[in-house]
């Protein structure tokens, strides 16, 4: 889309011959205001935008800053036992040290490979499978109850089974991540296909569109938002499950780092691991949200 035509064309040609009765319901023709403003006062506009963004940023980070402040002061004031909850500055120092000696990098890398690997496999498997199952309604009806059972079986409850079958190495850890990630994606994709607007399907049918075309042009784009909800859930799950799996049997990974630190009474290091995990979780979710936005700009802003 070229922004040039976007903004210029409708302003020049107003609502065309839209008859009188309808004009009031029409969305107002695109506001030429922002662009006109740019031309007249080029300096003040960006400044004001910057100010607005800064204000928004400070509002959004306020709660986190308060949390950090409480974390720092509570142990120092004796409100919490500094042995078990060291002030955040100590945790930061430990984190910095772990980063410096390469331990943090090693453990993070091990975790990321496992969780992203499992997550990626789950996406590649579950999305097409979900589209297929969702399209054939009888299959969806047949498999529905089974899928519900699997989804509601906590993945970690099956960890011993995975270890039993696949050993204690990488395979079992990646597998449990795949397993846990598949369900939210699969179920969301199936329901996305099932919920595709029936009028749109009728439209495509009335135009004699072939089934693959119908899929490509109607079902797939209509499913994107719901599929992405599943993918985001899976993203969170992938980290959650992995950390737990690493706590049980692993020689590397953030879950192992946290568990081992606690075991060796290296409490600041333990918190450093926890903070790293939550940072990864937030960043991953943010990434998925951004991709989702990119893919569904057409949605009604809610």
């Amino acid at each position: 889309m070229s922004t040039g035509t976007d903004t210029a064309a409708p302003a020049v040609r107003p609502a065309a011959p839209a008859p009188a009765g309808e004009v009031r319901h029409a969305a107002p023709p695109p506001r030429p205001a922002p662009d006109a403003g740019h031309a007249v006062r080029p300096a003040r506009q960006p400044l004001r935008a910057l100010g607005r963004r800064l204000r928004a940023l400070s509002l959004r980070s306020a709660a986190i800053l308060v949390l950090l402040a409480v974390w720092e002061t509570a142990p120092r004031l004796g409100l919490a036992d500094p042995t078990f909850l060291p002030p955040v500055s100590e945790v930061a120092a430990a984190w910095w040290e772990l980063l410096g000696n390469g331990q943090l990098g090693r453990h993070t890398w091990a975790s990321l490979v496992r969780s992203f690997g499992g997550f990626a496999i789950a996406v590649v498997v579950a999305v097409p499978l979900g589209l297929l199952i969702g399209w054939y309604r009888p299959v969806a009806a047949l498999l529905g109850p089974l899928l519900e059972v699997f989804r509601n079986t906590a993945a970690l409850a099956l960890l011993p089974v995975f270890v039993l079958l696949l050993g204690i190495g990488e395979t079992s850890k990646v597998s449990i991540v795949v397993y846990a990630c598949v369900w939210p994606i699969l179920l969301n994709t199936i329901s996305a296909v099932g919920n595709a607007d029936p009028t749109l399907v009728r439209l495509a049918r009335s135009m004699d569109l072939s089934t693959p075309r119908l899929f490509q042009k109607v079902i797939l784009p209509a499913s994107v938002p719901a599929v992405f909800t599943g993918i985001r859930l899976a993203g969170a799950v992938s980290i959650l499950v992995l950390v737990a799996a690493e706590m049980i049997g692993a020689k590397a990974g953030l879950g192992y780092l946290i568990n081992a630190s606690q075991f060796n009474f290296a409490i600041p290091q333990m918190y450093a691991g926890i903070v790293t995990i939550s940072a990864i979780g937030v960043a991953f979710n943010q990434l998925l949200v951004t991709i989702e936005r990119r893919l569904s700009t057409w949605r009604v802003p809610s």
């Binding site: 609502a15 839209a18 008859p19 319901h25 439209l203 009335s206 004699d208």
Partner: protein, 277 residues
């Protein structure tokens, strides 16, 4: 030769008979409005004609050939617009053309042209949620016209719009019909709409749906033929409020109202009986 022929068409869903003994002939370029009480099988009639379902017995001929399935020789306009929300107005009109194998560049030009025909120049890049109901339906009409079907099937297309928008779209539709010469089959439950739009109004009975009577509608000065390419289609005669408040209009409305009145009463009776069982 008749463009569309229904021959003893019957449609049942299990025990329920939706349509029974439908015989109907529609000439090429004709504007036929089907009006009937709710649940009388109007939409079923359109589905059959659109090839979205098949009659239980009887047959439907289009240009002398039986309808066997959907096709691009018929364009359907739905009450719920059926626009793809992820596409712009232009993209939605192009969608209709993609099925026809028109080359990409030509698609864009054609879509622009048809958006212009329905008065939406300047709104090409808007997504459906940025358009009013009336504008959405205009996009849907442009989409159906763009792939140039002979027959336009309209399933209560203006029912969800407010009165003013509806009236302006009615005028627009008549104008488009006169310009393009399409055969139009228009379903509605509105008597005024039927009288205003149709050259013929087919009144349906309530369950099972039958054609009760076909009322030809004509207003003296209003041109009643699709004036394609003749250049005579400029004089449109009385329009809008002027036509709606004329005594002739009132007479037609009353005639159809009388025909429908018994059917509506019967339909309500049937519904009550069903609800109490």
């Amino acid at each position: 030769m008749a463009k569309i022929v229904f021959e003893g068409v019957r449609k049942t869903f299990g025990d329920f008979t939706a349509l029974d003994g439908i015989d109907l002939e529609i000439r090429s370029g004709e504007f036929l409005v089907v009006v009937g009480p709710s649940g009388c099988g109007k939409s079923t009639l359109l589905d059959l004609l659109g090839g979205l379902s098949t009659p239980t017995s009887g047959r439907i001929l289009l240009d002398g050939k039986p309808v066997t399935g959907p096709g691009l020789d018929r364009g359907i306009v739905f009450q719920q617009y059926a626009l793809l929300p992820w596409r712009t107005a232009l993209g939605n009109v192009e969608f209709g053309l993609e099925a026809t194998g028109v080359p990409r560049r030509e698609r864009r030009a054609r879509a622009t042209e048809f958006l212009d025909l329905v008065g939406l120049t300047g709104f090409e890049d808007r997504h459906p949620h940025q358009l009013s109901g009336g504008m959405r339906q205009r996009v849907a009409i442009a989409r159906s016209l763009a792939y140039d079907p002979d027959v336009l099937l309209m399933d209560e297309p203006f029912a969800a719009l407010d009165a003013q928008t509806r009236e302006s779209l009615q005028d627009e539709l008549r104008r488009i019909w006169q310009r393009t010469g399409k055969t139009v089959v228009f379903i509605t439950h509105g008597i005024e709409e039927a009288v205003y739009l149709g050259q013929k109004v087919a009144v349906m009975t309530s369950r099972p749906g039958r054609i009760k009577e076909i009322v030809p509608v004509s207003f003296g000065e209003r041109p009643e033929t699709a004036a394609v390419g003749t250049g005579t289609g400029t004089g449109t005669g009385p329009q809008g409020e002027e036509l709606r408040s004329s005594p002739e209009f009132a007479r037609y409305r009353h005639e159809i109202w009388t025909l429908l009145h018994d059917e509506v009463a019967r339909a309500q009776q049937l519904e009550k009986e069903e609800a109490s069982v």
